[in-house]
């Protein structure tokens, strides 16, 4: 049961990230919630799962810090490159989230089919 929930989480994180553009179309408060999740939580959550941090609180705090850091660095680079739009920043964060989740999801599918 626990394993199945784990598998769904690995599908849910990138799915939530991808939902941002849809949420923008739907409007508030969904747009704000989706954007907050993307800028402040999801990329870090996807990455922190690969890191050796023990408990849930440490995991969560590291995920928030990583997400904010990535959003900061990506936005800064985009500004210095003269290419900034918030959509580009969001796309980069979505890509990081999906890439960080992909090995887990793919690994599970491969194991299941084997």
């Amino acid at each position: 049961m626990k394993k199945r929930i784990g598998a769904y989480i690995w599908l849910l994180i990138p799915a939530a990230a991808v939902l941002l553009p849809a949420a923008v179309a739907v409007g508030q408060p969904w747009r704000a919630l989706a954007a907050i999740a993307l800028f402040c939580l999801l990329p870090g959550l996807a990455l922190a799962h690969w890191l050796p941090v023990g408990d849930r609180l440490t995991h969560l705090v590291l995920a928030v810090a990583l997400s904010l850091s990535l959003a900061t660095l990506i936005s800064t680079v985009l500004f210095f490159a003269g290419q900034w739009t918030w959509q580009r920043c969001a796309e980069a964060l979505i890509a990081i989230t999906i890439l960080a989740c992909l090995p887990r999801v793919a690994g599970r599918r491969i194991r299941r089919s084997a």
């Binding site: 800028f39 050796p52 985009l78 918030w86």
Partner: protein
């Protein structure tokens, strides 16, 4: 009636009423829920009372004692109840996490959200200015480093630009509530840090609470340092979580032994011996608890920490130095198995300074003023100890709160010398001392605009709170009643002092609607090339058209000179504008701030305004009870 708290099963309410009481035996009613229910009520009532009092605070009556003077008894009663609720949660047989979390949330709302509850207008002129920088980035699409130093460290503002545009939330509301959200994030990170320092949950909770109760430093507003501080605490916590080490050798013993066994080193003299001893000591550190982690995961975690450090480096000038100093002292003390991490942070910081922040570096060469203790003391402390009696009371309260928490911490350090027993298992008092000591090294290096001591205090405060908690809770287990009461009393007094200190400048950093409207009107009247003047820095302006206008304040031009000289300086400033036109905004906050801080008496500002109106080329464009806008043109022809 006796009430017996059932500790074996604290979550369940149990009422035991014997049907037939035997003679001589008292009825025992077990109300396991009584105490936690009282805690719950106290927390809810405390938050409610404080919040209600803040919402209804009469801001028109704000004086130089700040917000604390108008919050009313209900607010303080609420603060006491929140501390009582915290005490109930803390001193249960097992600390009640839900009650402690609820009480902490209430405290954050009461202390950090008081200004946001009291007024719909964000507090503090700096937050307004930061809004202007974000606006400039969004409008221009690139950071123009020629504007000012903020654009050499644009990381936080770039993040804010993406966040504002992505979420679609009103920026004013975001910056109004920023202290609350920032503090929530800080406290979560502090919770993780404290858990690395002690295995005692009660001690960790008390340290977090002491931080929240004693942090009057007011750096949690919408600012780069707020996010940078969060990242700093997270890096500290993760380093202690996964890269903790213990020195394998005593430093003195290692230095004494040195290369004694090595004949060549002995022959090379004492310096070589010491060097060899130091190397042996450095190499002898033993990692704690990370044997089972694969090396790729350790490398990935180090990369994650470097990412956090990089985000800090692009966002804030000072915090990366504090991080590097803290980690360096940690490494030198032998408490981390990642001793090269401070080097990485240092390299990132220097690389940013050399490649990106060059315009700032040219204007502010490093090392200037370093070690000038007299100037540092003057700008950081003595300059602040002047002004009206109320303002001096606030400054005194700030010093007392700081001295109290630092005094408790020193007492705690002395007690923690028996660390192994005292801190409960895996704690490391040495690591905590090292992390607290690191940022202190920054204090003599620069005055940082008179704010260095404030910032250093903030960087040390988590560890100071930790040791203060040790002084209050020296031994594991539930303390006696006298100590419980004393702890709740200390926490309450600290929180009251912090509220008084934090909002001590409310008379001039909480703006009125007319002042905001005046700033709007100022920009409506301004033409490209005009110079914009304000009475003092305490002005809610520069939130738009950030790089468009030259801005100057009378506080910068006129302190210490007479009215006539002040006017001449204003005239020459306006003359240098390409349009020869200046707009001067004088608000109620300007007058109060100059008067309260002892820089310019209210009469002198009134005299200056009176004189302005007698000059040709000066006229009032717009005015209300709280603000006036003067147009200054052709002043040089006089």
């Amino acid at each position: 009636m006796t009430t017996d708290v059932v500790t074996e099963n604290p979550g369940n309410a149990e009422i035991e009423l014997p049907l037939a009481p035997q003679p001589g035996r008292r009825i025992r009613i077990r109300l396991a829920w009584t105490v936690p229910a009282a805690g719950l009520l106290a927390a809810l009532a405390g938050a409610g009372l404080s919040g209600w009092a803040a919402v209804n605070a009469p801001l028109d009556e704000l004086g130089d004692l700040g917000l604390a003077a108008v919050l009313g008894p209900a607010y303080w009663a609420g603060l006491v109840l929140l501390n009582v609720a915290f005490g109930i949660g803390l001193f249960a047989a097992r600390p009640r996490t839900w009650l402690l979390t609820l009480a902490t949330g209430g405290l954050v709302l009461a202390v950090y959200g008081a200004a946001a509850l009291a007024s719909p207008i964000p507090r503090g002129q700096v937050a307004w200015r930061h809004l202007g920088i974000v606006d400039n980035l969004i409008t221009t699409g690139h950071p123009d480093r020629a504007i000012d130093a903020y654009f050499s460290w644009p990381g936080f503002f770039a993040l804010a630009a993406s966040f504002f545009q992505g979420t679609g939330l009103p920026p004013i509301e975001v910056i109004r509530w920023a202290p609350v959200w920032n503090t929530v994030l800080w406290l979560l990170a502090l919770g993780v840090l404290m858990r690395q320092l002690t295995g005692r949950a009660r001690l960790a909770w008390l340290a977090v609470w002491l931080f929240a109760a004693a942090d009057w430093i007011d750096q949690d507003y919408f600012s780069p340092q707020a996010i940078a501080f969060l990242l700093l605490v997270v890096v500290y916590a993760v380093v202690l979580h996964r890269f903790r080490a213990e020195p394998g050798l005593g430093l003195r013993a290692a230095l004494r032994a040195g290369g004694g066994a090595d004949a060549d080193a002995a022959a090379a003299g004492r310096a070589a011996t010491l060097w060899d001893g130091a190397r042996r000591w450095w190499a002898a550190r033993k990692p704690v608890g990370d044997d089972l982690v694969p090396s790729w995961q350790r490398a990935a975690l180090l990369l994650a920490l470097a990412t956090l450090a990089a985000a800090m480096v692009v966002s804030h000038q000072l915090t990366p130095f504090a991080l590097a100093a803290g980690l360096a002292v940690l490494a030198i003390a032998g408490c981390t198995s990642a001793p090269r991490l401070p080097l990485v942070v240092g390299l990132l910081t220097v690389a940013w300074l050399v490649y990106v922040a060059v315009p700032y570096l040219v204007g502010h060469p490093p090392g200037v003023g370093a070690g000038d203790v007299r100037t540092l003391a003057t700008t950081n402390v003595l300059d602040r100890l002047r002004g009206t009696p109320g303002h001096l009371t606030i400054q005194g309260t700030r010093l007392v709160v700081t001295a109290a928490i630092v005094g408790l911490a020193v007492w705690g350090v002395l007690r923690a010398r028996r660390a192994g027993k005292l801190l409960g298992g895996h704690a490391s008092g040495r690591a905590a001392v090292a992390l607290a000591a690191g940022p202190v090294l920054l204090a003599p290096l620069q005055s940082y605009g008179g704010e260095m001591l404030l910032r250093v205090t903030l960087y040390c405060l988590p560890l100071v709170a930790f040791f203060a908690a040790i002084s209050l809770l020296p031994r594991p287990g539930v303390p006696g009643w006298a100590r419980r009461v004393a702890i709740v009393a200390v926490c309450t007094l600290l929180a009251a002092g912090a509220v008084t200190s934090r909002y001590g400048n409310a008379a001039f950093d909480m703006f009125r609607p007319d002042e905001i409207r005046a700033a709007d009107v100022l920009y409506e009247y301004a033409n490209p090339g005009d110079v914009l003047l304000a009475g003092a820095r305490a002005t809610p302006w520069r939130y738009r058209d950030y790089g468009e206008y030259r801005t100057v304040t009378l506080e910068d031009l006129c302190i210490g000179v007479d009215t006539q000289t002040c006017f001449q300086r204003v005239r020459s400033t306006v003359y240098r504008a390409s349009t020869g036109r200046g707009l001067l905004l004088v608000t109620r906050s300007n007058g109060v701030s100059l008067d309260a801080t002892g820089q310019l008496p209210a009469e002198q500002l009134a005299e200056f305004e009176g004189m302005l109106l007698t000059r040709p080329g000066v006229r009032i464009l717009w005015q209300t009870a709280d603000a006036r806008i003067y147009e200054l043109t052709h002043l040089a022809r006089e």
